[in-house]
């Protein structure tokens, strides 16, 4: 399996049930992401105020859906997105140079799947502080200062997370176009 399988699973004609499930989860995750981004960023970046009212309710409704989808995608795509020797030939050469070990030349990488893998792992990684920061604030564990800090973590993680998701999506569609 290779990272291009990821796009293949979306675009290939002969799909298994698992493929359909994977597509469904992906689409739900994307939709949730769009809703979360709109409801989260609009009041803060456009109106200059905290998320409030019905927006916060929508945001909180889609958050667990998104988290659940991310968990499923993490499980289903992780193997395809693991780094292989061909992904980082320069890194492999560097290691061999430093450790004075010999071996076969690195196998040439297939297409540009590296950035997709990187963005995938970043997405999974960033989902943790994104979700846990707001989850932690819901328990009577942390005081006002930490509450504010957690909110900041949530906000800035969301900025980075959104950029990575956009990049990942662009790469995915580019690969599909090829």
């Amino acid at each position: 399996m290779h990272v291009s399988d990821m796009s293949r699973s979306i675009s290939k004609y002969k799909r298994s049930l698992v493929d359909y499930f994977r597509i469904l989860v992906y689409l739900v995750a994307m939709f949730s992401f769009v809703v979360l981004a709109l409801t989260g960023f609009y009041p803060v970046l456009v109106l200059g105020e905290h998320i409030t009212g019905y927006l916060v309710m929508i945001h909180a409704t889609f958050a667990p859906v998104f988290a659940g989808c991310m968990a499923v995608l993490a499980v289903m795509w992780a193997r395809q997105c693991r780094f292989t020797p061909g992904d980082l030939p320069w890194f492999e050469r560097l290691v061999r140079l430093l450790t004075l070990t010999e071996g076969d030349e690195a196998r040439p990488g297939r297409s540009s799947g590296l950035w997709q893998k990187i963005t995938f792992w970043l997405i999974i990684f960033l989902t943790l502080p994104l979700g846990l920061s707001i989850l932690a604030s819901m328990f009577p564990l942390l005081g006002t200062h930490w509450q504010e800090l957690l909110l900041m973590i949530h906000r800035y993680t969301a900025y980075v997370f959104s950029l990575v998701v956009i990049l990942h999506t662009v790469l995915l569609f580019r690969m599909r176009a090829k």
Partner: protein, 642 residues
Amino acid sequence: MRALKRGWTFRGALCVLTLCLVAGAAENEPGKLLGDESDGSRAHPIHRIELLAEPSEPDDEAIKVDPNIDPEEEVLLPFSTRLTCGECHTYGIIAGGWHFNAVDPNAEDGRPGQPWLYVDARTGTQIPLSYRSWPGTYKPAQFGLSDHEFTKIFGRQMPGGGPGEIDDPDEVMRQYVTGKLEVNCLACHNGDPRQDQGGPAGYAVQVSRGNFRWATAASSGLATVTGSANDMDEMYDPYDPFSVESAQSGKKKPPMIAYHKNVFDYENTVFFDIHREVPSQRCYFCHSNLYIGEGHTEKWHCDEDIHMKAGMTCVDCHRNGIAHNINRGYPGEEKTSSNKLVATSSCEGCHLGDKSTSDPTGGRLGAPVPEHLGLPAVHFERLTCTACHSGPWPKAEPHPTKTSMAHRLGTPNVNKAPEMLPHIASPVFAKQEDGKIAPHKLVWPAFWGVLKDEQVEPIEFDTVTKIIGGLFEKEELPFSGDWPDFTADHIVKGLTALKSAGKAVYVGGGKLYSLDDSGTLSEQADHPAAKPYMWPIGHEVRPAAQSLGIRYCTDCHGTDAPFFFGDVTIDTPVAADRQAKKMVDFQDISPSYAWAFAFSFVFRPMMKIVVLGASAVMAFVLLFYALKALGCVVNVLGGKDD
């Protein structure tokens, strides 16, 4: 015996000498009296002073009170605080303080506070009055109450001054008989346990008897006052021994004072147990609250403010200097108050510190810095501290509430029935001017008025009594002091009878009733004059363990939580209109939104589980592949080419 006498003479001389030295040594600024500025000593100064009484003519010298005068030659007069205390403390400065300056049009009104509530069940009247320009209150003069009448009714729980001292050109003679109700310094500062504000012959009773000149002395524990100035005609001269003697022989007795023999020393000076830091019991006479709940009708059912139980007193926070510009302790007070401690005397100021200074000012008086574990910071933008911490725990309906000022608690013959008017409800969580939700006490105004340019002007109470009192005379008034049950017919009768006053209206239960051209009764629900008057609650502060939200978010964000969905009864004499409004209606929040938001908390635990579970799965995947990657690196470093 002679040695003892010599000893006392020596001590007396020493005392006088010390006072003279202190007076001489204290270099006061020009215009300042000895007691206007502290020299820094925290010790209590001894007040052994001679009593001075007001002369009959304002320009005459003060009269020294001598209990041994011949009553046939002179009249024994009550001491005057303006003259007695004013010897060392500039009376004029003190009289401009918060408790006395309501009548000064230049005084800052500050945040709306408790009004004086004039109540008359028979005419369906419950009107908030105040000399301050608080929106929703009416000036006593608008209601036809002169300063003198106002003082006679409400002076019972005023520390004197204010309206009690205003010269009334229409009542010069009456004012000469009753005297002025001077600032009663002892009402707050007297440490003598005999200080009697609410006893059968105490301050409140003396004020209601019109004994303004005698009220302070009567309550001081130094003297007994009998008789009533109200019973004297306007020709009565309280300074004329003959006039007094003649009045004494009559059926109605004039006001007379008898000083207790043991209070004067050999120099006719009197010891006052003056406390600079006012004991809280003194504040309580005017500032007590009784929250009536299911079976909780007595004060011992409710706890005192947590600050008091921690050993503090009212004046630890509510401080003032000689100007008596006491800080009220609400956030934002610094914008209007010249009191330098206001910024650090609010809840935030004490517990968190004044953020505008670089000095650490938080934790004053040992105030713990609150942790607010698990409370999203947005609550601090939307709510006052008191919303979660003050007043009684909210119930499905706000508690019927009694206050000293409204129900003359602590005075003789108080009607103790829970239904006694005026009807105050608390806590009502309402949005205040700064946009934050705070707990309030609420009263629904009810009065007869006239409509002028869409503004409602109350009709003078005497006029109402004369015209309507007779109409409703046969109505049976409940013994409890509750409203009689008015019907629409009563309102129609009243409005018809008051037609001569102009476009007559009746305000009650949040509605404005009027008669249209055909004589049919019409109701307007949204008129500003019919809105309830609310003032924020500061006390009693509950401990952190009893604050709203301590159990779970649903203390407030529950679909039936009183904070949003409590039923605030609409109080009115019109029986058919006694309905209820939801608390959320006072918060400028859509009820459906508040309900939907509260309903979302049903799913909050599920959301937590899903997010936590998803995070655990992702963390496991990350860890798993990180370990696998580490394995590869180890293999490579170990020379195993796999």
